[in-house]
Symmetry: C2
């Protein structure tokens, strides 16, 4: 398959190198377009007020891979690749492998998920891969799963344009319990900011935050949340969409007087 | 009501000044926490790797308003306000009035919508206001609608924690056709990048893009899209959610062999 790979950890990260080299070795045609530096928690940002640059790099990828370092955000990278750098559209946009999970409400801030989202906005199916640990260095179980997933898609194609958010537990292959579909959970944080004083007596803040236990408002749902399933060492697959319309909200507002004045 | 107001155009924008001063004049207790410079198209970004600063400013707001200029993104502003600057939670988080519409898939990149999204993630209802023109300078019809909407919520509270994405057409009050619920539409662009060469012979790109006509895949839906309704000079209200799980995707993947290996 023809694959476009991006990420938010930057072109030098071990995660993207592992994914790109692993899939190129399996015979896929890989182009990498990544930010030239770390761009975590950039969410779905676009660069509107500055020019964007992209330079081909050769250093640490398999020689069959075309790789570009881009001055923009993850979304910029995918937009630029699809709009200007690639000669023809890829079969899939892949993002990652991210260093750290992308689960629950945290995915709203995720550059990794946003890069994949850019794919489906442009009509190309996409997969975001995240290894659920900031410190884990063994990307091989995640690469192996990416390989399996692409094999699966080759024989049983995705039924429509789709974004799959995939998280892999940071454990050896033998400890992975299974693969499960999951719904997006919620993660809440407390004590979000640390307040400090600089050497000149001025206040500043660091975003920190302690993770609280998940509160699942839909606990009777037989499908686990991504937050819960990854804790149980499942590989999670969560299909995501870009339509944020809240159907329940539409229903509950329909009787609003403001809307029915004439 | 106790209101927290933020935006993505920055503390100096006419839109936020109009909204804050208009609602303070109507008797609401207003705190403004905005980026210290323009932060459009920042999406749902957080500042993780730099300290965040916030300074009280007095210049151009009503004297009853507490206003802070923050070094961070729109999401940072709301997080910092709720976590560190405000003594007690507000009744509502408001964002805007944005200079330019926030409709269709463009809302994925919107700092205005992200600031409001931060409110509902923290359990506080939120409203994003956008005037659907980059060049319009008359925010009074939008301010008047914000005033009416808050009156409505005071007598008929929102049924649950909810984010309302509101767009106001850039026309005089007399030309506004009505107020309608709307679903998120799709906007597609073509010719996304302009390729140029700098004085030193190196290539760079500008994100540009021509807007294409909307293609509504769900054209039989009696509810209009935000894209269409705003063109017809309706004020649009679209409830949005932070759960991106694609229910149809879950159904269509359930039979996947990869998931049913045992």
């Amino acid at each position: 398959m023809k694959l476009l790979i991006s990420n938010d950890d930057g072109i030098l990260s071990l995660g993207v190198r592992s994914l790109a080299n692993g899939l190129a070795a399996a015979g896929h045609e890989v182009t990498v377009v990544c930010p030239d530096r770390e761009r975590s928690a950039t969410g779905h940002s676009l660069t509107l007020h500055d020019p964007i640059r992209a330079e081909m790099v050769e250093s640490h990828f398999d020689p069959t891979i075309k790789a570009w370092a881009c001055s923009g955000t993850p979304s910029d990278c995918v937009k630029l690749a699809l709009g200007a750098l690639l000669d023809s559209p890829p079969d899939l946009v892949l993002s990652g492998i991210n260093h750290g999970s992308n689960i629950g409400t945290d995915i709203l801030y995720s550059g990794t998920v946003s890069a994949a989202m850019e794919g489906i906005i442009e009509g190309i199916s996409a997969i975001a891969f995240s290894l659920a640990s900031f410190s884990a260095r063994d990307f091989q179980p995640a690469v192996r799963f990416a390989y399996d997933l692409l094999e699966q898609i080759a024989v049983q194609p995705l039924p429509e344009v789709m974004l799959l958010n995939v998280n892999i537990p940071p454990v050896p292959q033998s400890e992975i319990v299974g693969i499960t579909l999951a719904r997006q959970g919620v993660r809440r944080y407390t004590d979000l900011f640390q307040k400090r004083v600089d050497p000149r007596g001025k206040t500043y803040y660091w975003l920190a935050g302690e993770l609280l236990q998940e509160v699942d408002k839909d606990a009777n749902n037989p499908l686990p949340t991504d937050v819960r399933a990854i804790q149980q060492n499942y590989i999670t697959i969560t299909p995501l969409q870009y339509n944020l319309t809240c159907a329940i909200g539409l229903e509950s507002l329909a009787s609003w007087k403001l809307l029915n004045r004439g």
